[in-house]
């Protein structure tokens, strides 16, 4: 009996139990994929009337008037971008510095509890941040931080105008608190992953530990650290409840950081159940679609960057 040297493609699932198992596994995965695709499709379908009615000018029109059914997203986009920018500037500085400390300087007895506390900060529910922001941070902004900033920098338009307590700056600070753990945790992991030899090489050249950490290790990890910041930015863009509670909820564009504003997410949160006309609802869903697309792009960018330095590890 001779058997020709033909290739055999081997079926890995042959028994009935395995076929059933494979079918169930495939089924679950397909359902998962359908859910995500369905999410996108539903957002597009829901915003279709608004897309038809307002066209692309929806993005740069600044009126938000439910009475005349005239909707433009610019004030919310402005508010979202501004709060997220404030948040990422603050959080990137604090978060990266904290990560440098935890990765290169902290003795174990100090590093572990600090890491633990900072990571727990990420677990605090959004609504609790909002509550604290509304009753503690906002009054403190109105009575102390705001006037102090205005006293020093009042001549800059950014810090002019009346101080309500709630507003862009307060929203940004709350967001910064919420995303510091993201920046810190991922940056620390990326920094720790930088090979020892690099540090030792730099130390051997006579650099101090601090110079090594800042001029050698941090630049070597820049892609991953930047990715951590972008990922954090993605979270800030979509954060809803905490911002809704401290931003003042007014669809206006103002030069002052103390002025009340609105974000894409918080306008949906506040007005969706009260939207009376279908075009109003549709405009709100289109805001959700914009939010979805922007955070998807930001997230894809961040993951791509973090992956490129950490291999295919999950973020």
């Amino acid at each position: 009996m001779t058997v020709g040297p033909q290739f055999r493609r081997v079926a890995r699932f042959v028994s009935p139990a395995d076929r059933g198992f494979a079918a169930v596994v495939y089924g679950g995965s397909i359902l998962f994929a359908l859910l995500i695709i369905g999410l996108f499709v539903e957002l597009v379908l829901g915003s279709w009337p608004s897309i038809i009615a307002f066209g692309p000018s929806f993005i740069w029109k600044s009126s938000w008037d439910p009475i005349t059914s005239n909707f433009g997203a610019l004030p919310m986009i402005f508010g979202t971008v501004m709060t997220s920018l404030i948040a990422i500037v603050l959080a990137a500085f604090i978060g990266i510095m904290a990560a440098v400390f935890l990765a290169d300087f902290a003795p174990q007895w100090l590093g572990q509890p600090l890491s633990f506390l900072i990571e727990l900060l990420a677990a605090v529910p959004s609504v609790v941040y909002g509550l604290w922001g509304l009753f503690v941070l906002a009054p403190f902004m109105r009575t102390t931080i705001g006037p102090a900033l205005q006293h020093v920098l009042g001549w800059v338009p950014l810090f002019s105008g009346p101080i309500y307590g709630v507003g862009l700056l307060t929203g940004g600070i709350i967001l910064a608190l919420m995303i510091v753990p993201t920046v810190t945790a991922i940056s620390r992991d990326v920094l720790v992953a930088i090979p020892r030899d690099l540090r030792e090489a730099s130390m051997a050249l006579g650099s101090t530990k601090w110079e090594t950490a800042i001029r050698v290790v941090l630049p070597a990890a820049r892609v991953g650290v930047f990715g951590a910041c972008v990922l954090a930015l993605g979270r800030a863009l979509g954060e809803t409840i905490a911002v809704t509670m401290v931003i003042g909820n007014r669809p206006e564009i103002s030069a002052s950081l103390f002025a009340p504003s609105y974000t894409l997410a918080s306008v949906i949160a506040n007005e969706f159940t009260e939207a009376t006309t279908s075009i109003y609802t549709s405009a709100l869903i289109e805001l959700g679609l914009i939010l979805f697309l922007v955070s998807m792009a930001v997230n894809a960018l961040a993951r791509f960057m973090i992956w490129s330095v950490r291999g295919s590890e999950r973020v």
């Binding site: 055999r8 081997v10 028994s15």
Partner: protein, 260 residues
């Protein structure tokens, strides 16, 4: 070259194996003596483990792995279309390089993980005792059958894996460097065990330790990778003959240490 002898329990014909487009072994034709230990020797990367993994169709669970040619168990091609690999694996047991007891099952449950179905508790207990006794482990674990196998020593874990394979009543036992991760004392115990197990099973054992092959096997097969990295069977013969008067120059070079 050894021809396929009639009536052998396990034999191959022109067996080749691939990982994707890379060929690992080619044109292996060999028959294994019943109820004896056959040792597969050869330098690292010569494809002996791959060959072993073709015998119980475990090669194919690797991604993109393929097989050509035939493996005959009792005269039937185990790669024929209508053959259920799971049935083959029940008839051909395997022991791995590193002990791999199932971490979440107790020693008892490990032993009977694939014992014949439909046994009551008494039957299971008897099956477990029989298997553990034939793996020379019973006396050491009989008082802790319900505990985790991870607390056993490496040698004990490996014997548990042997008991687990034996409990499924296979006809052939494949052993892939079963003592590679063990200390000399544990190794000696396993080698003794192989000598007693071969009264009941046809054993094929991969080893890269020539002394071990000389100690435990009655037949030895020598494999070597050719210039393109494809593993080939050089010769197979009675162990005593292969180690004293090999018929191939390359075998002689290897056993006298000229391959480094």
């Amino acid at each position: 070259m050894t021809a396929v002898a009639g009536g052998e329990l396990l034999a191959t014909q022109d067996l080749g194996a691939y990982y994707g487009t890379r060929q690992a072994i080619a044109e292996v034709t060999i028959a294994f003596r019943r109820k004896a230990v056959t040792a597969l020797i050869g330098p690292s990367g010569c494809g002996k483990t791959t060959l072993l993994r073709c015998f119980n169709r475990i090669h194919e669970i690797s991604f993109d792995a393929r097989v050509e040619g035939s493996v005959f168990l009792d005269g039937h091609d185990i790669y024929a279309n209508d053959v259920d690999p799971m049935a083959i694996r029940r008839r051909i047991g395997m022991v791995f390089q590193r002990p791999n007891p199932f971490p979440t099952l107790s020693i008892f449950d490990n032993t009977i993980a694939c014992a014949p179905k439909g046994l009551n508790y008494q039957g299971k207990m008897e099956a477990a005792e029989r298997a553990l006794r034939s793996a020379a482990l019973w006396d050491e674990v009989k008082d802790k059958l319900r505990t985790s196998p991870l607390r056993l020593s490496g040698g004990q874990q490996q014997r548990l894996c042997i008991a687990r394979a034996v409990a499924a009543h296979p006809e052939v036992l494949l052993m892939d460097e079963p003592t590679a991760s063990l200390d000399p004392i544990a190794t000696a115990v396993i080698e003794e065990l192989m000598a007693s197990l071969c009264k009941e099973f046809t054993i094929v054992a991969v080893t890269h330790n020539m002394q071990q092959a000389a100690r435990v096997s009655s037949v030895t097969a020598f494999m070597l990778a050719d210039e393109t990295g494809v593993g080939r069977l050089i010769e197979a013969d009675a162990t005593s003959k292969l180690f004293t008067k090999p018929s191939d120059r390359r075998t002689e070079d290897y056993i006298s240490g000229r391959f480094g």
